[in-house]
Subunit: 276 residues, 2 copies
């Protein structure tokens, strides 16, 4: 069932590419066009049937009734003004950025029909080459509407994401950023720091545990620098709390307080085991 | 090919059980006996063909020409004296504890033919129920001989582990503990701390990244309290270094130093990507 006439995906990477592929596969749009800085990405996106047409020039989005911004946070912020000159007031604008407060407060001032979203389906893998039409099946997609959000636009976007297989959750941009600072941003920061800490010549002794624990440290550096900076306040708080918890275990080890140590570790084990 | 007449495995959990199962499957011993505190474990070990006979009483190890201690570090330390009254001077004694300095220095004084080992094949899974005869295939097994180590005993144990599929690496107990404090112990400590830091009601937003990063926090609490305390000096150093690296990223975020941030994250990404 067609929901849109022309969908434009700006940034045809893992997430943008997966959205494009799913929309085309399910026939949810008359046409899907893609924008990328790289010709090769557009070529690959066409071959993988993610887009019908692609261009390095933003003008290709003209006439779209849905534009999804799927670039890093910083670039979303930078492209907004230019995009607003290319689309009609009726066009629904959305983004899939990993932090929401800064983006939402800027974009909802520029676009009359904007709504922020964040599909929780990323990975350390990157690029259109890893895109899949079933990436969002069974995953969560967070919507961050505000009192300014156009309800009809939100309903239409809800239909889209539901058809992509996602379960929707509504959060305020602020609560989103607070929660994500823990469940995603802090985990990445910990992984980046952990691999940094390990002497390079010890890595040949790495077992599955270390590989699991640091897997997301292979994520894109610029993307994550952007995320960290765009959620500065909450991330700094989360890291501080993490440092304190590390300090607590270190202190128990220093004092050889086995009882306290077991108590901390057991609580952690139960909490983690419940995650599945 | 039979290498031993009677092998006794003290502690028939994931590692002990896997060793027992592999020895029996490959016919490397005339008989494999197991010791556990729990009757149920012994029953299961027999049903899974890991042991021929089992007992909660250490006396069952009498007459063994190889005894492998596969309990938590603390229990290895506590059982050593008792075991020395049950075995002959010819019996080869080994252990698979995760830290080596304290165990080796104690056990090599008690047993004339002792050699410390550490197969790097653990996981957050536990117990004989997860034991597999191919657990060690392609994994590393660290040997920590000293100048007191009986060379013939070492050679025989090397044959055993090679037949279990492990690649052997020789390290001093001290270097072993230093390396493991980073590649294993710190990773566990980070995972325990990270899951502790995340507010429980945020966990429903956990994605694959957080699950990977905290997977080993589901490991056994007493086992890990033991490991942390038995490698106190090096672990405290490793945690301190980790805290500093976290502080460095936090400070770059606080100062909004994007260039430095990207530089740190990129270095981490390259290092992690090389791990495979």
């Amino acid at each position: 069932m067609k929901l849109f006439n022309k969908v434009a995906i700006v940034g045809v990477g893992l997430i943008g590419g997966s959205i494009a592929q799913a929309i085309k596969k399910k026939g949810l749009a008359g046409e899907v066009v893609g924008v990328s800085r790289h010709k090769k990405t557009l070529l690959l996106a066409k071959r993988l049937k993610a887009i019908d047409r692609g261009s390095q020039d933003l003008n290709i989005i003209k006439g779209a009734d849905l534009v999804i911004l799927a670039t890093p946070v910083d670039i979303i912020m930078n492209l907004a003004a230019k995009i607003s000159t290319l689309v009609s007031k009726e066009c629904i604008i959305s983004d899939v950025g990993s932090t929401k407060q800064r983006i939402v407060s800027k974009l909802e001032r520029i676009f009359p029909r904007y709504i922020g979203t964040h599909p929780l389906a990323g990975s350390e893998k990157r690029g259109i080459v890893n895109a899949q039409s079933d990436t969002f099946k069974g995953s969560l997609c967070i919507f961050t509407p505000t009192r300014y959000t156009d309800k009809k636009a939100q309903e239409k976007l809800r239909s889209l994401w539901t058809k992509l297989g996602a379960k929707l959750v509504i959060l305020s941009p602020e609560i989103h950023d607070k929660i994500l600072s823990f469940v995603s941003h802090l985990a990445h920061l910990a992984a980046f720091s952990l691999i940094t800490t390990i002497p390079a010549d010890y890595l040949k002794f790495a077992s599955g545990g270390l590989k699991d624990t640091t897997r997301i440290a292979a994520s894109d550096s610029e993307l994550w620098a952007d995320i960290f900076l765009s959620n500065q306040k909450y991330i700094v708080k989360a890291v501080t709390s993490f440092q304190e918890n590390l300090g607590r275990i270190k202190s128990a080890i220093n004092k050889r307080d086995k009882k306290l140590l077991i108590q901390i570790l057991k609580k952690a084990r139960v909490k983690r085991a419940a995650l599945g």
